[in-house]
Symmetry: C2
Subunit: 247 residues, 2 copies
């Protein structure tokens, strides 16, 4: 098809000066599409298990429940499909995805590569302030282990990894890592980890951090990749354990 567009209006997005306060009043003036809100809420519902794997996202029901029309709900569903949280089947709807173990392993592998990349780059460019942040986090994780605060450990652990990605300076990698990690949450419903695992993990964190602070990019990369591999192994072990507990 020839595709005749009316006229070549090559307009680039001009910056308005007034949108310095985007979230001034979300009720009177929308700053982002409704579909984005819906997507966030659906994502939360999926990741916390309210919407379980295999379940269908009923457009009309969700639209009523969320007080919007089907349009934004559909938009949100398609967005979640792109991030891998749901699968859409023609004429059947969107279904919460269940992550196969093999697929999870693939993602772990990619995450390991990205983590290694970021660690190496971080070793080359880390600032004093950033170094301090890492140090504090490792210490905080130690403290969480001592206090048996699993929830706290996991929060800091996630942040620690995210920070290294950020310190690596590769924005694309940072975003990708965050997305893949989110996708892994589909599988990791509960935190299976056990105290020994946390101690092991944080020892690896410390070694990695030291390599980064030393500026040893090659070693940082190796340690980061090893940490990812060991983390995957710990995860598999915990999964196996949970499977045994379940049966």
């Amino acid at each position: 098809m020839p595709l005749t567009l009316p006229e070549p209006t090559a307009t680039s997005p001009r910056r308005r000066d007034g949108d310095a306060a985007p979230h001034a009043n979300a009720l009177l003036r929308r700053t982002h599409p409704l579909g984005l809100d819906v997507a966030r809420r659906l994502q939360a519902l999926i990741l916390d298990g309210t919407l379980r794997p295999g379940e269908r996202l009923n457009e009309v029901a969700l639209a009523r429940a969320l007080g919007v029309s089907r349009g934004p709900v559909r938009e949100a569903a398609r967005a979640l499909e792109k991030t891998g949280l749901v699968t859409v089947i023609m004429n059947r709807g969107a279904f919460v995805r269940s992550l196969g173990q093999d697929e999870a392993m693939d993602i772990y592998e990619i995450n390991g590569a990205l983590f290694g990349l970021a660690a190496a780059r971080a070793a080359d460019r880390i600032s004093a302030g950033q170094a301090l942040v890492l140090r504090i986090m490792v210490d905080a994780m130690d403290a969480a282990i001592v206090h048996g605060d699993r929830e706290g450990f996991f929060r800091i652990n996630s942040d620690f990894h995210a920070r290294i990605l950020a310190f690596g300076g590769n924005r694309e990698a940072e975003a990708l890592y965050a997305q893949l990690t989110r996708k892994l949450l589909l599988l990791r419903r509960r935190s299976f980890e056990r105290p020994g695992h946390m101690t092991e993990a944080n020892d690896e964190h410390r070694a990695l951090m030291q390599a980064i602070l030393r500026g040893d990019a090659a070693r940082a990369r190796g340690l980061a990749e090893a940490h990812a591999r060991l983390g995957r192994a710990r995860f598999l072990e915990a999964i196996g354990q949970a499977a045994q507990d379940g049966t």
Copy 2:
């Protein structure tokens, strides 16, 4: 009240069957949403430069041109946003993205990591048939160089990389690599490469292939990452050259 119905003339905003033939054959049963078709077509228009960076995707114009309503066009625009080809701004629309050079470098870096990962795994699992495919492709690229067939070289080159990702066996990585490579096309409008570059590249291909066939995963990974780095350098050099040519 006279029952004179307004005859369905051209003035009516309702759908007129005869005009602009909406889609090829309404008798065929749809197997995938219209938005997907639209997304593919828009992607093609963006990547081949018909829709230029910074240009806005006018929903109504595109809908008319493609013979669908705004819904699928919106859906396609949002999908392309997720893959990084357009940016959507509230109340302003979707704009073809222009890829910054720094962002492209980030993507190259990630691609290098994924490529290295795949090469290492491919070295461990490659089959005889797969090995043959790689060999044929490297030879074909040599032939293309000899014949000065740049277009052919690039086609096979892209396929060669994609194959290695496939042979690596990590589906997620394969999909990711394809997506990132597509995104890079935003920058690489024309093939800037020069004959010398192609020769260099294929020498690296051959070395990498041999390492894979030998089952030397570590070396394969190193060569793959080196190839990515050198490829990026060649690209930068070509860009610089093109910039000089342009001015």
